[in-house]
């Protein structure tokens, strides 16, 4: 079987599955028993089940993702990397095995040497370990180490940036989890109420009405979530983590620029500050001059005053007398 034929077959199967899903959705009927898809068992019954399945799938995914990203601070970096390494390898291994079996389907069995070579080039074991092997990643501990005068500070800055990046990823995952929960809540509410409407005599007046209702339901759920304690906590943590990472990143960039004889961000910021202060001083001088000119103009416009010098001095004298009493 050549690869074109293989691709055509895959395409045709995919189309058949899509058609079946649409038919099942439209009629509210049952799909073939035992039919499974890439993400497990497909919807068993109509739109309601489709939402339910989707909700469950989404929930699992977000929980797993959050779990996967969360333990940065609770566990050691090595444990974290080890777990991530293992999870990645397991997932990658499945994909790798599938691709190899497909290869053998249309390309025939590979000679063992080629197989081994491919494995060493593409197999996850070959490069993932080298890239993120915890022993080679020992530098990560430098972030917590005391500074040594004889060692370069650059590595420590890089490691701090990596640490902040990981914290940021964790906070992104936490944030996504909170947001995802609100979406799921909206789905659940929507599917229950939609089911009730569909069972009622009135039914729905068309897809737009259903969409409008979905928008209203989701809007309310999302706005409530945006005020919830979980969201506010996640949002704050995300903003803090994002700022911390940006600053750590700038520290590394500044250090690199210094080595390459390029002005650093901090130096330019200082320069801007100087320019700002000078401009401000100039503005203030101009402002004072404007005020003086205005005063002068008003004096010029004002009718000349008589200056009864004697009376004024008498008043001053009398007031002084009054004060002294």
């Amino acid at each position: 079987m050549d690869w074109l034929e293989q691709a055509a077959k895959l395409n045709s199967e995919w189309m058949a599955v899509q058609r079946k899903m649409v038919e099942s959705y439209m009629s509210g009927g049952q799909p073939d028993a035992g039919q499974t898809g890439a993400f497990g068992t497909p919807p068993q019954n109509s739109a309601t089940d489709a939402f339910s399945q989707y909700s469950e799938f989404g929930k699992k995914m977000s929980q797993q993702y959050a779990q996967f990203m969360t333990p940065v601070k609770q566990k050691s970096l090595e444990d974290y990397i080890g777990e991530a390494n293992q999870a990645f390898q397991e997932n990658y291994r499945v994909a790798w095995d599938k691709s190899r079996s497909m290869w053998s389907q249309f390309g025939g069995e590979l000679p063992s040497e080629a197989d081994a070579t491919l494995d060493s080039m593409m197999g996850p074991q070959a490069w993932w370990n080298k890239l993120y092997d915890s022993s080679q990643f020992g530098g990560a501990k430098m972030g917590d180490m005391p500074s040594f005068a004889g060692l370069t500070n650059y590595d420590k800055k890089v490691v701090t940036a990596v640490d902040e990046w990981q914290t940021l990823q964790k906070e992104i995952a936490n944030y996504a989890y909170v947001v995802m929960s609100a979406w799921l809540e909206a789905h659940t509410k929507f599917q229950a109420e939609l089911e009730a409407v569909m069972k009622s005599e009135e039914g729905t007046k068309g897809w737009r009405e259903v969409v409008d209702y979905w928008q209203k339901t989701a809007d309310k759920a999302l706005m409530e979530m945006h005020r919830s304690e979980d969201f506010l906590k996640a949002q704050k943590a995300l903003i803090e983590a994002s700022a911390a990472y940006r600053m750590a990143e700038q520290t590394v960039a500044d250090e690199t620029n210094k080595v390459l004889h390029i002005p650093t961000r901090s130096e330019i910021d200082d320069l801007h500050h100087k320019v700002y202060e000078l401009s401000k001083e100039l503005r203030n001088v101009k402002k004072d001059m404007r005020a003086m000119k205005e005063e002068l103009d008003s004096l010029k416009k004002a009718p000349p005053k008589r200056a009864p010098a004697k009376r004024a001095s008498t008043r001053r004298a009398s007031s002084a007398t009054k004060d002294s009493k």
Partner: protein
Amino acid sequence: MAETLEVAKTAMSAYKECADYIAKIENAQRKLASIRNEDVEIATTPKTQVHQVDKAVLYRYDREDDKPSIAPIVVIYGLIGRQTMIDLQENRSLVKNLLSNGADVFEINWGNPTRGDRWLKIDDYVDGYIDEFVDFVRAQTGHETVNIFGICEGGTFSTVYSALYPQKVKNLVVTITPIDFHADQLVDRIDHGFINVWVRNVGSQAIENLVDANGCMPGEFMSYVFQMMTPMRSLTKYNLDLVEIANDEKTLLNFLRMEKWIADRPDHPGEAAKQWFKDYYQDNKLIKGEIEIEGKPVKLENITMPVLNVFATHDHIIPPDCSKALGDYVGTDDYTAMEIGAGHVGLFVSGKSQKVVAPGIFQWLAERD
């Protein structure tokens, strides 16, 4: 058999709806493909640059005659967004409305602050740029005092300015302006006051860090914040709303003009952003009398000129109660509140408000000229 027929009917009806919608999408694609960016014009009312300080530019709207009916109006917008909102299109232009009544309108454009402007403070805007522009207008027009017209954050700047320099302000008009930044808590509404809630929640250190890390408050960040306030509308405005309105060229162009205005969101200078979010939003210092500009205390009771406060009932960005509060703190006896049944932007651009807002403001000013 009857059941099968019913299912088939439903399926056919669903397919028809689907086909109709696809036809609408195709139509929208065709319409959009025929429109160029230059077709979507905003801020077209002719004006002339009359003064510039750093990046801040003062414009004067062109007039056919040189005898304005009232004292000059200086429009002051905030640093979040762009002042072009008041001249979005010819038949929905606050500026055009004011000009047609005979007003002499000046307008400040803050330009595009970059990281180089990160040190600018609200002090610089109020005591520096605004004061210089006001002096310029006074000198240019020969008026001792001018009408100050503030919008949103610019309304707060205008309020602060009027408290510092009451002798230069004839009348103060503020629109959709926050004064009591904690008043969002007075009513239990889930759909408004998100900026107030979120800014209070993150604390002052996060604001410091966010600005220090970016050198400013990025315009994109504020856009994202605004999108989050109306989550589903943000998600469906292109794939549903735009498709629905594409048939009507006039409505489509209105939509695209609004998009053009929203997309033009400059960065907010860093130090000014820190002050705005910490001193004003978090600590609510304005109504406490704790704001200082260049060391001078800002006392709202010094606002003794007539004040017109225009706010929107459905404003989800500046809750009406945050604006209404102004009346409790100013020192004038001539205070007018004008509530408009619109949203934050709708107050300026909705068809309905064209007949109310600009004519109402002009009449109020004319009565006090």
